[in-house]
Amino acid sequence: MQDILSVSVYNGQAIDLQEIPQLSIAQFRAAIISAVESGCRIASLFAVFSKTDKGQLYVVLAHDDTGKLYILSADVTDSYPSITTDCLQAHLFEREIAEQWAIRPVGHPCLKPVRFHQPYRDAPDIWGREKNEKILPSVMEFFQSDGDEIHEVAVGPVHAGIIEPGHFRFQCYGENVVNLEISLGFQHRGIERSLIGGPNKRTLHYMETLAGDTTVGHSSAYCHILESLAECSISPGVQTIRAIALELERLANHTGDLGALAGDVGFLPTASFCGRIRGDFLNMTALICGNRFGRGLIRPGGVAFDLKNERVWQLLEKLVRAAAKDVTVAVNLLWNNPSVMARFEKTGTVSSELCRKLGFVGVAARACGIECDTRFNFPFGTFQFAHIPVSTWHTGDVFARAYVRWLEIQRSITFIQNQIDMLHESKIEKPEIGALAPEKLAVCLVEGWRGEICHVGITDVEGHISHYKIVDPSFHNWTGLAMALREQQISDFPLCNKSFNLSYCGFDL
């Protein structure tokens, strides 16, 4: 393994395409399997096709302990032996590759479409769908249990609340869920394909809206990619503002999630308080850039708004008031309330073993006691200098996912307070980055509020984007929700779902 994994990069670095080890498909497969066995995670796995119909697989293997990212590549034709059979983390990536490029991973145990669209190249569809046939979402074979008392429940795409669309298929034995299968793709807007040939005036807006609740996370990852491809350095002041925005995004969403979890068990005080406090955090982002979601703040080469003088004190005042006082009171009501704890504890448990096997990330992984946090393992920008302790809990249940959020809320508040002191010298350079270097690949990981965001950008000979791969943390974690539901009452689905709170559009792209 050591020989093959000889070339590594750190988070945010670019590498010449020629330097990436080119393996045979057998070596590629074996390298991924052995790397994951020795502690790597698959951060990204995708196929690229050149105009001459020559296919290549790329993998980004993330080694949490050393902070190294290994990049491997292999030529591929119409089929190859599935990696999933020996490495479960590859399962959804291989389905995605099969759907996009009509490449069959032979032996894949669960080869089904992911987003329900036609293949990108002129080759027969894996599922035999005709070229001009309209492909309907969620039309596929679902896993089914047999038995006299087994029944099936189908939910979605349109849900009962103000939520994005997705389809959930439950196999139930009485009240208990035997299996849950999740079928998404309803939000597919063709984002990755629209990035080819860029960057152009639309690119940044795709990044800001590919998962609108993670605007700062994804636009930061994208800007890092461009900056490393253009070899453009970013001032500490800019990095501080980006880090503050990222933590504000985390604060708003974690607070909203804790409120929604309280709402799902009918505990209205925390639900009501957190609904408001979430807005207070969003308004802090709006204080910096005018938009509650951080639209227009992060720009390639810098940030579009400064943060100084009176505005800093306003932010601090709002943060301390909303944070230190209100959110603490509102959230602590949960832990002191037996009827809440009875619903949270031992509900929707995921074991740490399963978590490692399937490669879950972010809050869901840390709630299984796994210390994986991009800010700590793959520090980038401000996080290289200011460490946020990794928040974990060991029980893997709804409670753990809620409690990790609460720990992170406290630590993000402290972090922002500390960073504000560093802001006095923040200077905003004019966001201009210059041309991108040709024939390079750049990787960037950002710890978004849901977990690890992975962007990979590849340039062609002219320095344009020839391929861009986005992995939202939800891509890893939707399977976690399906696993959490096993042997749970179906009535606990909303609670379990909220405890993961995954993105549909970030998955569907």
Partner: protein, 236 residues
């Protein structure tokens, strides 16, 4: 009733853009070139901005050398007709209330079913927030309900992806007549940044008729609330 006092929006908030034709040089098209969604047009020397396409990124205002286009902090942006979203000056025609008969039906109780059809969860989030204690939408008689059968209308977000087209149509058909439909956000009005993608339709009115357009990317919750209340004739 609402608002008791004018709400205070952030200093850097980008609200309704205003065009000053006097300041706009006749052959300049810098703003048109930088707009990511082609929201700006110039015909016969007259510059117009289409709020239905605008992402409020303010790139045009930043690049305008003469300040002919500027973003105000005006949050009232909704319109009944798509044409009313196309501005060529500082004024905008705001929402007219429903006709007397429809208002008699929905004025005191309006139940809406929300359908996200390719939305990025920002419009959804800022619609959801209306039900919190901050805005307390229920006090105006407006509520989001869990079934189209219980609903008086739809509130749609997202450009309507190909994969959501059928589900949206079915949901619309399941709402009993008479019904009203509201499109929230640039995507739902025009396709937004996803305009002309093969995977999406260019907005909800390509599938079903729309009664109220609420622009923004996403619209501020106050913008949505203002649109809803004007439609019901609760503010003039």
């Amino acid at each position: 009733m609402f608002p008791k006092t004018e709400p205070e929006l952030p200093e850097r908030f980008c609200g309704r853009p205003t065009v000053n034709p006097v300041k706009c040089p006749i052959d300049c098209k810098l703003c048109i070139d930088v707009c990511p969604t082609d929201a700006l047009k110039k015909e016969n020397g007259i510059l117009t901005v289409d709020l239905g396409r605008c992402l409020f990124c303010a790139r045009c205002a930043q690049d305008c050398p003469t300040e002919a286009i500027k973003f105000s902090r005006e949050y009232r942006l909704a319109a009944r007709l798509k044409n009313d979203l196309i501005l060529s000056g500082p004024e905008m025609k705001l929402v007219d209330a429903l006709d007397k008969k429809t208002k008699a039906l929905f004025g005191r109780s309006l139940k809406l079913r929300q359908v996200s059809a390719g939305g990025c969860n920002a419009c959804e989030a800022d619609t959801n927030v209306l039900s919190t204690v901050v805005f307390d939408l229920g006090r105006f008689g407006i509520q989001f309900v869990a079934s189209p059968r219980h609903a008086d209308g739809l509130l749609i977000t997202g450009p309507v992806t190909e994969n959501m087209q059928l589900a949206l149509k079915k949901t619309y058909d399941a709402v009993p007549d008479p019904k009203i439909v509201i499109a929230v956000g640039a995507c739902a009005i025009s396709g937004g940044i996803y305009v002309d993608h093969t995977q999406v339709n260019n907005g909800a009115d390509t599938i079903i008729p729309i009664d109220l357009y609420i622009p923004g990317c996403p619209p501020h919750p106050l913008t949505i609330l203002d649109g809803l209340l004007r439609l019901l004739g609760k503010i003039n």
